[in-house]
């Protein structure tokens, strides 16, 4: 894929994500088609290897993964779509968009595991919505460190 085509496709995907509300991203339909789940898992396995040995390809691969997720729905490996595409946006300087996808990936990751991270997820959201908690949370962290 040429660099200009890649950039055009990233812009197009950014527009798709921008047009979706947070609620809609967090409550996307699941896809239970075994073939699709397997395909997405294959992409996830590949991207984790590519991340180390050929990082230049992470951009196009993550774009393909998020295209699939947005078009066909959530699979167990969908958090990777959000997190890898988010890391590309962060590297491009689109920090707010990247953070939105990062939070989305954590949310889906937790839901998929029936909230085994629930105890962490709850303060995480409280932390974001409540600045006072943010302060206390960090003080607590520092106290623990100290």
């Amino acid at each position: 894929m040429g660099e200009s085509t890649l950039m055009t496709d990233i812009d197009a995907m950014n527009k798709v994500l921008h047009d979706r509300s947070d609620d809609s991203l967090l409550n996307m339909q699941d896809n239970k088609d075994k073939k699709f789940v397997a395909l997405h898992q294959l992409y996830s396995d590949i991207i984790q290897v590519i991340y180390f040995i050929k990082p230049d390809l992470v951009c196009s691969l993550s774009l393909r993964m998020i295209e699939l997720t947005m078009a066909k729905g959530i699979t167990p490996t969908s958090p990777f779509s959000f997190v890898y595409f988010g890391s590309i946006l962060a590297a491009m300087g689109e920090v707010e968009k990247a953070c939105r996808l990062g939070e989305c990936s954590l949310y889906h990751d937790c839901i998929l595991q029936h909230c085994s991270l629930y105890t962490w997820l709850e303060p995480y959201h409280v932390y974001h919505s409540n600045p006072t908690y943010k302060m206390q949370h960090c003080r607590k962290t520092s106290t623990e460190i100290g």
Binding site: C99, S105, Q113, H114, L117, Y127
Partner: protein, 358 residues
């Protein structure tokens, strides 16, 4: 929602790792990032993903170090995990531990440890690591960042330091993905540019250093837009240094005190120490010796609290050189009262600013 699926949970440590190390550190406090990586570490242990688990642990230790965790705690965690790692023969991340361990020991015991071989029998020194493998880009850049940090903390700047250790240039050239440690390197580079420019008599060289510092300041300001928690005190310190070097001394004072206040509020004890020392230098230059003395004493207290005993000793020596034996009248200064007065001035300034904005 998707039913619970055995394969879904195995990615949790990796998602946490990439998410925090590449994205969310932009908006989350460094302390929370360290905590999140620790959760990733535990998740990896439970799932049997030892590689990602260990990577998360190493990032958690690094984030804690950057957030100003006590150095004794950092050193103990490194030693513990390094020994375990060598037992397991899973040594993929050994270099990160070696570099951080060397840095921590140097800050605790002094720069002579860098050339003294192994301080801990089990953990190789940075010199050994670099002699063995100097082609690894990450090793090179982390080593450079550590060297720059040591130069600031021990106030030892060689003439070609900034040419040797061009962190922002290397990051741009190698197209490295943004990471908290790399941004810290850029911050140290900016600080070094301003610090070096103070002592330089050649106006052209001094101007180019200030310009380089200003470009770093612009970059750090853009980070503070997303997380004032992590970057506000650093921006204020760089701004203070900028004003100081450009001769705008009236503007520099409040910025120094704001930086100390912000570092204190956000629990960055090590940066509070650095800002206090630099503010002390500024006050000393202004002839305000009692405030300068209080700031130096506060800096020493913060460095000791952080665990950087060798750095605290260096500041003590510098105080002795500056004030000589004649400090009896300064010893009467109540440091905490003086600090409260200096910082309350900053709060008044901030309230004024807020009122004018309203």
């Amino acid at each position: 929602m998707v039913d619970e699926n055995a394969s879904s949970s195995k990615y949790k440590p990796m998602v946490i790792l990439i998410c925090y190390n590449a994205i969310l550190f932009h908006s989350e406090p460094l302390q929370s990032t360290a905590e999140a990586h620790h959760i990733g570490y535990k998740a990896g242990q439970q799932l049997g993903d030892f590689l990602t688990s260990r990577w998360n642990l190493q990032l958690s230790i690094t984030m804690n170090y950057l957030a100003g965790q006590n150095l004794r705690a950092v050193q103990a965690t490194i030693k513990d995990d390094y020994v375990k790692m060598m037992k397991d023969e899973k040594s993929a991340f050994f270099f990160g531990y070696i570099l951080l361990h060397t840095q921590v020991i140097a800050l605790q015991q002094g720069l002579h440890t860098l050339h003294a071989g192994r301080v801990e029998k089990l953990i190789p020194s940075e010199a050994e690591l670099l002699a063995k493998d100097n082609s690894n880009l990450i090793v090179q850049i982390v080593s450079k960042i550590n060297k720059l940090e040591r130069s600031i903390l021990f106030q030892q700047f060689s003439s070609n330091l900034l040419d040797e250790l061009n962190i922002s240039g290397t990051i741009a050239e190698m197209k490295m993905q943004p990471r908290p440690l790399l941004y810290m390197g850029i911050f140290y580079e900016g600080l070094t540019c301003f610090l070096c420019s103070i002592g330089i008599t050649d106006p052209t060289k001094s101007k180019s250093l200030i310009e380089r510092g200003q470009s770093v300041l612009t970059r750090i300001r853009s980070l503070a837009e997303h997380s004032s928690w992590n970057w506000e005190n650093k921006v204020l310190l760089l701004e203070a240094m900028e004003m100081h070097t450009m001769g705008n001394l009236d503007a520099a004072g409040p910025l120094y005190t704001s930086s100390i206040g912000s570092a204190h509020e956000h629990k960055f004890i090590h940066e509070e120490a650095v800002a206090s020392e630099l503010a002390g230098e500024y006050m000393y230059e202004q002839g305000n010796h009692s405030d300068a003395y209080a700031l130096f004493m506060h800096s020493i207290k913060c460095f000791k609290e952080w665990g950087a005993d060798a750095v605290a000793k260096r500041v003590e020596m510098s105080v002795q050189t500056k004030f000589g034996a004649n400090v009896s009248h300064l010893r009467a200064v109540n440091v905490s009262d003086a600090m409260a007065r200096i910082l309350s001035f900053d709060q008044q300034q901030q309230q004024k600013k807020k009122r004018s904005l309203v």
